[in-house]
């Protein structure tokens, strides 16, 4: 595989809520900052991958609006995932493997303060059998806590508003752009079955496979940032990834949480705070889908 690194990361200010700006306006400063940190402009980007969710805004085509933050004129090579921004980073990493593009931008945005997200997330479920039950994320969290013998949580971290951007670069281009590129030593993502009833909720098989494929256990980990909303999710993930410590989510800006955890892990390497770090993103009920990235100096 080609050596690819995260060379820059910029999130919006943590804990934002009730944001009045549009998602595009939220993205402008974080994309600007991610580029300015390494002294490049939008014209230096060879591939862009964006991430957003129509159900946060309650209107279709969130990504059509956010494209306006990329300077897409003349036209750019760009794709979009309706997933957490960590998967946009994954797609950008895949794209950079080809050798014809050296620098890529991945970003995501989400404004959670315009709807009741617990309610909104319940239409993420199987429309025939689960959605009519209006199961919300906290109920799922309590269910899973029981499965691992932990006190069921009474509250989830607040859903907040955020945007984040990362710049990835390959090989020598990465070395030119930053002193300590956060080399992606491994990255993988997996899903479990959707139905909680067919899973062993005390474990995360998908996180285990993703962690193993990403090579988490190949060397000691200095720091890990996990998309754990509750203490029991942290325990399940650390068990799956073979970690002894990991930082969870203080707040949960949907669509951006995972990219922030993964970007923060990369940033720890870039800044020299860690030589080997792990970032994790999750989606779906009871940690259904998991992405794990390992960064090395």
């Amino acid at each position: 595989m080609r050596d690819v690194a995260v060379v820059s990361f910029a999130p919006s200010e943590p804990g934002l809520t009730g944001v009045e700006e549009t998602e595009t306006q939220l993205l402008f400063p974080v994309i600007n900052e991610a580029l300015a940190k390494i002294g490049i402009t939008r014209k230096d980007i060879g591939f862009t991958c964006s991430a957003s969710c129509d159900y946060l805004a309650g209107a279709p085509f969130a990504f059509v609006q956010t494209l306006e933050a990329t300077g897409a004129w003349p036209p750019i090579s760009e794709s979009h995932v309706e997933m957490d921004g960590a998967w946009a980073l994954y797609e950008a990493w895949v794209r950079l493997q080809h050798g014809d593009v050296d620098v890529a931008l991945a970003f995501s945005s989400g404004i959670c303060s315009r709807a009741d997200i617990r309610e909104v997330l319940s239409i993420q479920l199987d429309p025939y059998y689960l959605a009519p039950l209006w199961l919300d994320p906290l109920s799922f969290g309590r269910l899973q806590a029981e499965a691992v013998g932990q006190e069921p949580p009474t509250q989830a971290p607040a859903y907040t508003d955020a945007a984040a951007a990362v710049v990835l670069a390959a090989g020598d281009r990465a070395r030119e752009l930053v002193d300590r590129p956060a080399w992606i030593a491994g990255i993988d993502h997996r899903t479990d079955a959707h139905y909680p009833g067919v899973r062993d909720l005390s474990k995360s098989e998908s996180a285990r496979i993703a962690g193993q494929q990403a090579g988490v256990d190949k060397a000691p980990v200095d720091v890990a940032y996990l998309s754990a909303q509750y203490p029991h999710e942290g325990l399940i993930l650390m068990d799956a990834l073979g970690l002894t410590h990991g930082y969870g989510l203080a707040t949960n800006p949907l669509m951006v949480s995972g990219l922030i955890q993964v970007g923060t892990a990369a940033d720890a390497v870039i800044k020299g705070d860690a030589n080997r770090s792990v970032g994790h993103a999750s989606a779906g009920p009871c940690l259904q889908q998991n992405l794990v990235a390992v960064f090395e100096a």
Binding site: A69, R114, A131
Partner: protein, 171 residues
């Protein structure tokens, strides 16, 4: 014998709060005062109506200091006559004209504007139109479009513009 049940209607009701950005709010205030405003990009000089708060080409942030007023009259660059499709919540029942209009002083068109006061068969590209104010400004102001302050557009009676004036402004 009754027909077997093939569909069960499941209506999902989610409430969203509509938040207008500060840029849209300022634009709305100006509209309520009868002024159509835009932002002029300090780099390329293009005038965006309604203002976005940035120039998407130069990726420059714009604000009130970049505000310019444009005329409430312009040229119809293209249009369609819509036969409204009926769905839950659709209030439109009759055919109506939606047009893209290049306002005098703006660099680009405003889209999907209602044109009235003329038989549908006489609406044409290049036709000059003017705003009919006096609509309900609280209607349709979702941070986009021209808000409800303008009821619709109607022919101004000025001579049509030639093709060169409108054909690069389909959108």
């Amino acid at each position: 014998m009754s027909e077997p049940v093939r569909f069960v209607s499941q209506k999902v009701d989610l409430d969203y709060k509509v938040v207008t950005s500060p840029v849209a709010r300022r634009f709305d205030e100006q509209m309520r005062a009868g002024r159509i405003t835009g932002h002029k990009c300090p780099e390329c000089g293009l005038v965006y109506v309604p203002p976005k708060g940035f120039c998407p080409i130069d990726c420059v942030i714009t604000d009130e200091s970049n505000e310019v007023e444009v005329r409430d009259a312009g040229t119809l660059t293209s249009f369609t006559v819509i036969t409204p499709i009926q769905y839950q919540g659709q209030e439109e029942k009759e055919e109506y004209v939606l047009a893209n209009i290049l306002l005098d002083g703006a660099s680009g068109t405003i889209g999907q504007q209602r044109v009235e006061g003329i038989p549908h068969s006489e609406v044409r590209m290049g036709m000059r139109v003017k705003a009919v104010w006096g609509g309900d400004p609280n209607e349709g102001s979702r941070g986009w479009g021209l808000t409800g302050a303008i009821k619709h557009w109607e022919p101004s009676g000025e001579p049509d513009e030639p093709k060169e004036k409108y054909q690069e402004h389909v959108l």
